[in-house]
């Protein structure tokens, strides 16, 4: 039983990163209809940006996060200009294919600039004011502060996203776009700006996840491949375009993986998620939390 709680905690930590990456992915799909296969690369760039900020520029943690967000914003703007702006009047396959191209280009750019060897962010938690005072033992559960930071940051970021979507003009614009692009435009929503904001938000969430995880795991040029696949799993489970669904499904996937590797076999952990996706697509194609909508 003691171990069960530890497995759950491990699952929540890893699930939190899935949430951060998947929420951005589902936003971009839900609002703009772009299936972004380069989303894992946003995560990878966030990880490298964090390493550059802390190891090379020697910034403290908060400015380092600001640096990662800045880089993510630039990446988001560029990705929008490549994947959405020229493609929005084309078939959806155009943006899918160009997002694959962007993923390959970004991976190779990382290979040239940062090299093939894995790298790690040495985040000294003892220098982070609030975090260093947090406990690491919760009864039978042990979570180092670097890991504890991840679910905390996820909850904060998702809360901020919720408030923005719910109460701000920009958020209303985003939601309006998701419901009906033409009507939103008629109502005065600046569609071009919404597209850019969406991409920036997606890149910022994935980039923050990348930065947080690079202090626990490693970053290397193709690290985004598996993350992107996991994020797609989460998005499908949660219902395409459903932000709350992605948050719940992300945690569920993390916990399922953790329990699989604990009680069945570690080799099966990646298989389980994909089996779920196939089952969901067969029996509940709108996702676990999606509403079935008849398109007119």
């Amino acid at each position: 039983m003691d171990l069960f709680l530890q497995y759950m905690a491990n699952g929540v930590v890893i699930g939190s990163t899935y949430v951060l990456v998947a929420v951005g992915l589902t936003l971009i799909f839900g609002i703009l209809g772009v299936v972004n296969f380069a989303h894992g690369e946003f995560y990878m760039i966030g990880g490298y940006a964090g390493i550059v900020a802390i190891t090379v520029l020697k910034l403290p943690v908060l400015p380092a996060i600001a640096f990662v967000l800045l880089v993510a914003a630039v990446v988001g703007i560029a990705a929008e200009a490549i994947l959405h702006k020229p493609m929005k009047n084309h078939d959806a396959t155009s943006s899918i294919i160009s997002s694959f191209g962007l993923a390959v280009a970004l991976q190779n750019a990382a290979l040239v600039v940062m090299g093939p060897q894995p790298q790690r962010l040495n985040l000294d938690v003892s220098k982070i004011p609030v975090l260093s005072s947090l406990p690491t033992d919760f009864g039978p559960v042990f979570l180092p502060q670097q890991r504890l930071l991840i679910p905390i940051a996820t909850v904060l970021l998702i809360a901020i996203l919720y408030v923005v979507l719910r109460y701000t003009w920009t958020g209303r614009g985003l939601r309006a776009m998701a419901q009906h692009a033409t009507v939103a435009r008629l109502c005065g929503v600046r569609v071009e700006r919404v597209a850019i904001v969406t991409f920036i938000t997606g890149a910022a969430l994935a980039g923050t996840a990348g930065m947080l995880m690079s202090s626990v795991f490693f970053v290397y040029p193709i690290v985004g491949n598996m993350i992107a696949l996991k994020a797609f799993t989460v998005v499908i489970l949660g219902g395409m375009g459903n932000v709350a669904g992605a948050a719940v499904a992300g945690l569920l996937l993390g916990i399922t993986e953790s329990l699989t590797s604990a009680y069945i076999s570690n080799a099966m952990r990646d298989v389980v998620g994909f089996v779920f996706v196939i089952l969901v697509l067969l029996f509940r194609p709108q996702g676990l939390f999606g509403k079935a909508v008849e398109r007119s």
Binding site: L3, Q6, Y7, N10, G11, V13, I14, G115, P116, Q117, P118, R120, N122, F142, P144, R147, M213, F217, F218, Y220, I222, V223, M226, E257, S258, L259, S261, A262, S265, N266, A267, D270
Partner: protein, 383 residues
Amino acid sequence: MTQFSRRHMLAVMGASVAAPSVLRAQSSDPIRLGGMLPLSGPASIEGRQILSGVQFAIEEANAKGGVLGRRIELVMEDDESNSTKGVTAVRRLIEREKSPFIVGTYASAVAIAASKIAAEYKVAMLSGGSTAAGATDQNTPGDPWFFRSWPDSNAQGDDTARAIVEKFKKTRVAIIHDNTNYGVTLAAQVTRVVSGVGGTILSTDSYNAGEQDFSSMLTKLRSLRPEAVYIGGWAGDGANIVRQAVEAGIRTQFVGSGSMNSDDFIRLAGPASEGFAVASLYEPSTPNPVGKAFGERFRARHNLDANTLSALGFESMTIGIEALRRVGKPDGLEIQKMLKGGMKDFQLVQGPAGTTAAFNAKGSVDFPNFIAVVKDGKRRLDV
């Protein structure tokens, strides 16, 4: 008629002026020796370290007056760890550069493909890092064309597994391996050897290469209380596992596959790598006096410690040059014969004291691997 004779005269005069210099050119032109390594692409980091050893061997030979009275010039080809490129590189080194032997290469698949071609041309190859048993197993026993002056991957796995029980006295062993051919083969071998020398395998877990989160697998492993954990896989994954194991509270003897004999592993794993054990062919702290002297000369020249890779690059090139010197002419077939039987007195920098280039029928040199242990962020042989 007069015109012809004048031209004739000129030709004769020209020839008489040119002839001595043509003769001289044959004896004082540098002799070109070929090497092929992955200098770009996925294994370029390893390739460049091996190259530094190869270059060092040439520098030292030239400082002693070269070979056969001629200066040595190194001709490098980049095979990019690609078999097609490797085959082209070998052809170019033999046909155009007339290299009497070739040092190369790192990736075993490329070495196997390239050495088949080299054998057709009757030119011997000396491994540039390839350790797979397959590369020497494809040689015709008794007539090898691919030579490797250190033991193969099977021997490395055997020595490592044996050390868990015999050197570290740990009998309750857990195995973690990746799902590649490399990891699966090693796991099977370690299971066989450890059980054979009286150890027990508590559990075997596998993971996909490049997987990031091992926390739950390691939490489960901790409850089994293994005395030693063997990891078979790539260095990056191994470092990740060792780090997360310490986080999960596992305090035990970690032993890794040969791929984890790298400074990158120690850098990535950080303090968690203390006590980690891995098979090694060469360390600057080697008890082998020839190897120690090489390490000191290398350090003086590069201000950098020699490692397994630079040592083996140095070794292969030095053996080739020595065989060429003993044969007395750049003749591929004669050099192969010399390597087969004539180098048994030539002392190596790799392996324990007294190791010599006594190639066996398959073209490999047998000696026990060192088991290096990480202490204070460095692999050491004396702990």
